[in-house]
Symmetry: C2
Subunit: 201 residues, 2 copies
DNA sequence: GATCGACGGTGACATTTGTCAGATCCGCCG
DNA sequence: CGGCGGATCTGACAAATGTCACCGTCGATC
């Protein structure tokens, strides 16, 4: 029996995935969580064989949760389950110690299959996505550029961002400018979109 | 036996929801679709009692699909199932003839419950969301303002938008300016965010 | 028939944004 | 030690953005 923890913020989707896994005779969902920190807590408690973590969750993403679970429950294999197959996500997931990366676009049957494969010690990564992630290279944004771009994403003005990050307006403009350059964008909105689609934010 | 059509673009979520509904003895999933147009086609084919439609789908959203299904299969009750409980979505869903509006945040048990209730002729709408939708009022953006704002959402410049919509740059700026005003935003990025969060885009 | 709102436009203006050339620190690496 | 890159800043400049006032045409509505 493979003991699985499932972390996913949308209750209906979580319930549906539980029922999907429930169809498998050799898989048992022993814990559920709706946020990253909750997933870590539950993992510590139930010590599952496999943790299925969504990336897009409120209050700390699935990737940080993955790293913490690897540390606290070393025997637990971490599978990342995400809506978006972004290269940067895959890279960060691997660095956080995940052994599988599934996108929700793939057929439902993949889920149970992936759980079994990671339990046997295999890795499960979509080869196309892996190729894209490798060819795209790592995140070119410096930490500070990333911060500033993220702060600009919600429509804040340069002044707002400068205040929030305790920087001068000129510095903020400089970081934005270089982020725009590195993302091959023409303005901050495009830069934000490109960075997002690459999983750099 | 309640015959259900399920339209949802993410295959894994779709499969999971099918398995969830499969647990119910009185519910049978008789059709699946991954896009709006496909949902309409399948509905015409299988004539389900209830159609469960996701809003966020590629190639024509679930709301237009809802309207078309109502027209072509009048006996079919339409349930909208969405990630985001946006007031504007609810309003448009109701105008398109949907009888229920579910957010994926709600517990998995709500799904089967809603299917049964709409089959009995009831409507299923979260009271809180309904209150928000009513108090927020209708979409204040004129069709053209909406077009221009939508075109600005991906980081296009005024020139790009003007070209794409066959308008002068001045006109584009005017529409953007009034959209920014109506959304109480300070720039186009904020305007896009606000309009999105209200379901006006 | 007058009024109103949506549509489309012009021109001028102030503000914001994006770019560039520097400059200073600091830590790291050969 | 010297050099390099990251972080931070300044000042100046050009381009894009946002605002405003005002002009017309429609079609609907009172």
């Amino acid at each position: 029996m493979i003991r699985v923890l499932l972390a996913e913020d949308q209750a209906m989707v979580r319930g549906a995935l539980v029922s999907l896994l429930g169809l498998e005779p050799d898989i048992e969902v022993v814990g559920e969580a709706a946020s990253g920190p909750e997933a870590v807590a539950v993992a510590r408690e139930v010590r599952p064989d496999v943790a299925l973590l969504d990336i897009e969750m409120p209050g700390g993403d699935g990737i940080t949760a993955a790293a913490m679970i690897r540390e606290e429950v070393p025997d637990c294999r971490v599978v990342i389950l995400t809506t978006f197959g972004r290269p940067g996500y895959l890279r960060r997931a691997m660095e956080a110690g995940a052994v599988a990366f599934l996108v929700k676009d793939s057929p439902a049957s993949e889920l149970a299959a992936a759980v079994r494969r990671v339990r046997r010690g295999e890795r499960v990564i979509d080869p196309d996505l892996a190729a894209v992630a490798l060819s795209a290279g790592p995140n070119p944004l410096s930490p500070r550029e990333r911060d500033v771009l993220a702060a600009a994403a919600d429509g804040s003005t340069v002044g707002d961002i400068a205040g929030r990050l305790h920087l001068s307006e000129g510095t903020v403009r400089n970081y934005l400018s270089s982020a725009i350059h590195k993302t091959h964008a023409r303005n901050r909105i495009e830069a934000v979109r490109r960075a997002r689609s690459q999983g750099w934010l």
